[in-house]
Symmetry: C2
Subunit: 452 residues, 2 copies
């Protein structure tokens, strides 16, 4: 039977909810039955922890394993607590070593240890390899189950080997070539092996390998794999001995998560580690409250600035009318710059070393924007109020935009250089720093022009 | 020779800059010589249009083609204008049909037509197929060069075919199976074909195909391909006849661009279509000025609100001190909600149909955050100023956070439902709407408590 995306998605979602609500497991099973793995996951992600476990148990065994394997790791952890030990051991054993390690990191030590002991010697050994690498390194995310060829092999021998080992190997389409010392000396694509003559030597078919060291930051490695458009990136140890491979779909998932983190952080909150509807409200609050507090505390700076100019304000209450507009515009300009640079950093288009170049560009951009907005502001404010007030507004907009763009462009680079997530670093600084600086500009310009 | 990521990146960048600055093409060539394709692209992206063309011309022919193929489409268009017609025709012919069409869309009609005429009949035909589909549909991004198997084939026959056609086919690892009417009836992985016995029938090896209609939105299709973790997604016409395939690396690039767009838009600017350093300042200004204006014009709403309460302000200047803090906090809470939901939409975790569920959650989250911040604000303001002022600040924070989270959560869904990019829709609305609403709340609470 043929399937197309989200066929009658809403209906199944509704039915499933009811079925489980009414504890009608048989119906739930019937609803999930026709769905493919991706659709099943979409449905499960929308259920609460308990109901998810209930629904999951109704899945036919084979799909149950496929689904589990592709669930977010926290949902996997949730699920385990809802399954019987037998099932737990089964799904755990079915995971690939890298997925297994990711899950272990989320489980209480006692559970984790029991699960590890339950593994076969071979699986335990493979898991240990991955567990051996530091938390954020690509070694943690690579698959230690790979297939290799030897430069001395013929195409024919290599094909035989692929046939023999394709069961275990995570990827067979890009085959690393290693010498007798297990050092990576090249890669050969299955395509080339297949199209070569039986007797051609791998040594003649292989290309220089792209590769990453196992200790490399996982996000960098994933980006490298994606940019290089390879199906699998060989991972090597300090002696360039092959220790694993990073497959493109793992790289894809890693970049996905990284982008979710950037998105969340640039919005001033911690990333949610579960899909939105599967995240408890209290977790969402926890993810946001810290930054919100940081920002609010930072914002008290603006209260002090305002306080310092309270006399000016008392004299010219009209000045206060423009405060939300002015700091709003400053914040927007700053955010525009910050988001652009944060993204450029993520894509590797700019590096901290480019700071001077970037800030210079952003200041020019900001000046242009400020000139445009300022001109407009001057015109409008002069018409409605007085020319001198118009002058104050116009000049302030010019100053604020220039300053905000510069600061907004610099912050992410500063963050990166200080090894803080650029997205995190930019947001609070801009909203507080730029606001306060902007207000000072405003009142200084005002008092000098209006002679207060 | 083995290569590891960004080996001595800065040095080559510096050298290359100098070499071209001094018009020393020979040196430039020497600098680029040892780099792999990905590294060459990184270097080219940092150069201005003219210099990029100069540097590009020094590349050895084979890498030149590989590099061109993977450059952003606008950079490709820039480059063409810097090459001789012979080279132009050459690189253009070397592109895959989908990449060719993307490039054609960026070229002046006259150039485009000349290039099309320069193609071989076969290439022109393939290009025409892709050109036939609407702009944002997956048909525009698919590859019409694919390899198929017939249910009646044996594994052996299929392998022979793979060997024979692997030259043209874009992907050989996932093989669509079609009947005599070219209808898609299944997919078989090269892995299974390879491991099966010579005589096994494809009909027994093939699985139900996942697929997307050629008219489907390209971003949805790419997301589907990535989520399904398939190396190639078959694309079919209205009669489920196979018309092309979307490869995972194309899907990856499409999602990448989509995420850049979301990032830019949620930062309140249009996405840059060239890498940051390769984008002229005026283009950056153009990308930002529109939204900045929209936001500024929207912000004049706040000026009016402030004006309406000018009397209250004149009486209690102290109230103005907290305005930046209050609207800042409102904006932050709104952005947190908006970014979370925008991302959840992009990942398919929520849909417009979930609006009620989402807003309900966000309001609860906002109330919690408001209670926490409000409590704090009350305490601090009561100590420094008066209890009644503390009460005003505390209650306003509670109200503003609740309102902002609700609005911030709703906006992206509204945008999506109205077929506007959710990221675009959220930003301006929150900053203007939430600011104005927040100020009204503030002054109402203030005047009732302080009895103004």
């Amino acid at each position: 039977m043929i399937k197309s995306p989200s066929s009658s998605f809403e209906t199944s979602a509704k039915l499933l909810g009811e079925a489980i609500g009414r504890n009608n497991i048989a119906l739930a099973a019937r609803v999930l039955q026709p769905l493919d793995v991706a659709e099943t996951i979409e449905q499960l992600e929308r259920l609460g922890t308990i109901n998810r476990a209930l629904a999951y148990r109704t899945l036919p065994k084979e799909r149950a394993l496929a689904v589990f394997e592709r669930l977010d790791v926290l949902l996997q952890a949730d699920l385990l607590s809802g399954l019987q030990d037998a099932q737990v051991a089964e799904v755990f054993a079915a995971l690939s070593p890298d997925d297994r390690v990711a899950l272990l990191d989320e489980l209480p030590a006692s559970v984790a240890n029991r699960l590890i002991l339950g593994l076969s010697d071979k699986d335990r050994a493979l898991t240990a390899i991955v567990l051996g690498y530091p938390q954020r390194s690509v070694g943690r995310f690579m698959s230690p189950q790979f297939l290799t060829a030897h430069p001395g092999f013929t195409a024919g021998q290599t094909l035989k080997r692929v046939r023999a080992q394709s069961e275990e190997a995570e990827s067979i389409y890009t085959i690393p070539v290693t010498d007798d010392g297990r050092h990576l000396v090249g890669v050969v694509s299955l395509r080339d092996v297949l199209c070569a003559a039986e007797s051609d030597a791998v040594a003649d078919l292989m290309k220089d390998p792209l590769f990453a060291p196992a200790t490399m930051d996982v996000e960098e490695a994933a980006r490298y794999c994606a940019d290089a458009k390879v199906l699998a990136l060989p991972i090597v140890d300090a002696e360039t001995r092959l220790v694993g491979i990073l497959t493109v779909d793992d790289a894809l998932r890693i970049l996905e998560d990284a982008e979710s983190e950037d998105a969340a952080r640039s919005g001033g909150s911690e990333p949610l580690r579960r899909p939105y509807l599967a995240t408890p409200v209290r977790s969402i609050v926890r993810a946001r409250v810290v930054w919100l507090l940081v920002l609010a505390v930072g914002a008290t700076l603006t209260v002090q600035v305002m306080g310092a100019f309270e006399a000016t304000l008392a004299e010219q209450v009209v000045l206060s009318l423009f405060i939300p507009l002015l700091i709003g515009t400053g914040g927007n300009t700053g955010n525009q710059a910050a988001t652009t640079i944060t993204r450029a950093l993520a894509l590797g288009d700019v590096r901290p070393a480019d700071a001077v170049k970037v800030v210079a560009r952003e200041v020019r951009v900001g000046a242009w924007l400020g000139a445009l907005l300022g001109g407009l502001g001057f015109a409008v404010a002069s018409l409605i109020f007085t020319v001198s007030l118009g002058l104050v507004i116009g000049l302030t907009l010019l100053g604020v935009c220039t300053m905000a763009a510069g600061v907004g462009g610099l912050m992410p680079l500063l963050g990166k250089a200080l090894k803080v997530d650029p997205a995190v670093f930019s947001n609070p600084f801009i909203s507080t720093f730029v606001d306060a600086l902007g207000l000072i500009m405003y009142f200084m310009i005002a008092s000098s022009i209006l002679g207060l």
